[in-house]
């Protein structure tokens, strides 16, 4: 089965207003740069975006934020950009903040067909407001519901035409779970190879989770906090 599409433009076919979309990446590490750039040029708007962060002012999801394409962000850490803060404070942008591990597990659960689960994170804090709680082994837990999306957009280091993916270093982060949780998962990769070339012992995301794949171009891979040894 060949899941290859030509480029980001072809990959985003079927995106509609008000859809829920997951974007892989942690900070600017491992974000699907090509697809985000293409979506920022498209007319689609009112999106609910699930992503650990929301880019910076002029890169990553910040580009779509500047175009007012995002109605709601579901994240664990945001506000690396001034425009985000402005839209949030003015009420233009709805924001749901979740503990990072709960967010990751909600996405994994969504992909794995588990509708909800209990975790201790956030109990007794404002994250727990309105959520069911229950005691297990003497400790209080919150009921967290799974997340799925109309589209999941992920970025991998290498991929094959069957959709198998391999990530590099910490650029895996949210990509692996999000690939599982999209009704349609788009994977953009730095290097796309024919089936049979990737060692099946070292696949991170099995191709069953991926519907569309393409080789991206002109990766910038911007670094947020360049920190060097003294």
């Amino acid at each position: 089965m060949n899941k290859t599409v030509k480029n980001a433009k072809e990959a985003i076919e079927g995106f509609k207003d008000n859809m829920t979309v997951m974007f892989g990446g942690f900070g600017l590490c491992g974000i699907p740069e090509n697809t985000i750039l293409e979506l920022s040029k498209a007319k689609v708007k009112g999106l609910v975006c699930i992503s650990n962060n929301c880019g910076v002012d002029d890169f990553g999801l910040g580009l779509m934020l500047n175009n007012h394409q995002i109605r709601k962000m579901v994240s664990s850490y945001v506000g690396e950009n001034a425009e985000f803060e402005r839209q949030m404070l003015s009420g233009e942008l709805e924001v749901e903040l979740l503990p990072q591990g709960s967010l990751a597990e909600k996405i994994r659960a969504g992909g794995a067909g588990i509708p909800a689960f209990y975790v201790p994170a956030g109990y007794g804090t404002e994250v727990g407001i309105g959520k069911e709680s229950r005691e297990f082994n003497g400790k209080m837990h919150l009921l967290e519901h799974a997340l799925t999306a109309d589209f999941a957009v992920v970025k991998a280091w290498k991929g094959d035409t069957a959709g198998n993916l391999i990530y590099k270093y910490t650029a895996n982060n949210f990509n692996n779970m999000m690939a599982m949780a999209g009704k349609i998962t788009i994977a953009e990769v730095e290097e796309l190879v024919p089936v049979g070339e990737l060692d099946p012992n070292f696949i991170h995301t099995p191709g069953i989770f991926v519907q569309r794949i393409f080789q991206g171009e002109n990766y910038i891979k911007r670094i947020e906090q360049l920190t060097l040894s003294k």
Binding site: A121, E126, Y169, N173, N175
Partner: protein, 218 residues
Amino acid sequence: MALDKNQIAMRIAREIKDGNYVNLGIGIPTLVANFIPEGIIVTLQSENGMLGMGPFPTMETVDADLINAGKQTITYLPGASFFDSATSFAMIRGGHVDVTILGAFEVSEKGDIASWKVPGKLIKGMGGAMDLVASAKNIIVAMQHTNKEGQSKLLKECTLPLTGVGCVKRIVSDLAVLDVTEKGFKLLERAPGVTVEQIQKATEGTLIVEGDIPEIQF
């Protein structure tokens, strides 16, 4: 003399044992890595998805795909591994990480911690802090004992939005080392030259002082 940031990190590093898996938060906790005693092997976990974090890179070895939870460029050590964030938090939630060291705005005498939000000022989000404090076996807080106005940050009740309830075990502040007990903050050690009275004055929550309190030795 109150401890400086490096001295707080140096004192906390003594809490780490050979073979521990340790998660270090942003700020003073990051400095702890510089003071891990020689001869012990410690594996640093970064919650975005790695075990075996090494020092910061040089310009030649820097890689945009290799960052820590503070989004700083880093390196990895032999024996390192990389994984997705759900697996990373399975390590944390499942109690596999031995020690978590993080900063705080406020800690209460019941072990509640506030570290992520200042209404009207700071609303960036909790990141992994809520998961870490809810599940780590041993949570050590690195913090200043008072704010810039001299008001205590070790309180009867936290005033800021909480990160977690009843979870902090030990605090190393610029003035003292304290344990959170059922009866309140138990004073264990004093910063060199700082008196019990000074610590008492800087602690709004209940302070338990039993016997002679030794000075932290450096």
